[in-house]
């Protein structure tokens, strides 16, 4: 019972933050509501037993990436978003809730037909007599043994991204 209650609390926070991102006019408010979404998603990951992913979500996403976003918003002194004159009000007022509700109903129907709503998950799952499912030890063993080549390619990607960011953001003489 407790996982269900916790799930609904954090899911409500998630959806509220996501809708607030759409409603707010100023980019800094959108960025801060995205931090709320990411923080409550980290708690949902903990409900699913994904300790490592939850920690990385907080440190990398809610920490590093969002600090970068807030830094750029403040650096560029981005003001209130200007509206386009020929933008359709009907599309915004009807289309956006229609899109979100339609997509979620479609997912609900498909997962009901696939029988996924009878599968209950959540809570730390004990697996193979090891510790909690998804702890850093298990992830590290998998990452450095089975997925070693993708991991190394990832480090190359990060290196290229760093050099690209420096070259692109450099002030030209």
């Amino acid at each position: 019972m407790l996982p269900l209650v916790l799930f609904f609390i954090f899911a409500a926070l998630c959806v509220g933050g996501a809708i607030n991102l759409l409603v707010q006019k100023h980019p800094i408010n959108s960025a801060l509501s995205l931090i709320v979404v990411m923080g409550s998603l980290a708690l949902i990951y903990l409900l699913l037993g994904a300790e490592f992913v939850a920690a990385v979500q907080v440190i990398v996403y809610a920490g590093a990436v969002m600090v970068l976003f807030v830094f750029v918003i403040m650096l560029l002194n981005a003001g209130v978003e200007e509206r386009t004159e020929h933008a359709s009000r009907v599309a915004t007022v009807l289309g956006v809730p229609g899109l979100i509700i339609g997509l979620s109903i479609a997912v609900w129907v498909v997962s009901h037909l696939a029988g996924l709503d009878r599968i209950a998950i959540g809570g730390p799952t004990v697996m193979n007599g090891s510790d909690v499912f998804g702890n850093p030890q298990a992830i590290g063993r998998l990452l450095f043994r089975d997925f070693l080549l993708p991991f190394e390619v990832t480090s190359l990607l990060i290196l290229i991204a760093i050099m690209g960011a420096v070259v692109l953001a450099r002030r030209e003489e």
Binding site: A18, S30, V53, L68, V107, F133, P150, V166, A169
Partner: protein, 100 residues
């Protein structure tokens, strides 16, 4: 215990909000934030299926998605700074030419 489909519906709602923000927003930074929201929605369904299948491969996928998102944020924000420096605007409707 929470049914798996609840997680999938939450993931779909987050992804839908991201798509809607990408379509209706005109500020290039907010559009970029919407892309991050879509990536988060996809990550949630990866972790939910990993918990259902009792397999850690989904967590590894989420790890790689996060790495790619971080790299994408660094390069994308550098591009945004560069565009703002030459155009003096963040409105995507005014950035409609490849040349200055």
């Amino acid at each position: 215990m929470v049914p798996l489909s609840y997680y999938l519906v939450l993931s779909a709602i987050l992804f839908g909000c991201g798509v809607a923000g990408f379509l209706i927003k005109r500020n290039i930074i907010t559009i970029f934030l919407s892309i991050e929201l879509m990536l988060n929605g996809v990550n949630l369904s990866f972790v939910a299926f990993a918990a259902q299948l009792k397999s850690l491969d989904g967590h590894i996928f989420v790890f790689f998605v996060m790495v790619v998102a971080a790299a994408e944020a660094a390069v994308g924000l550098a591009i945004i700074i560069s565009v703002f420096r030459t155009r003096e605007t963040l409105n995507v409707d005014r950035v409609n030419l490849l040349k200055l």
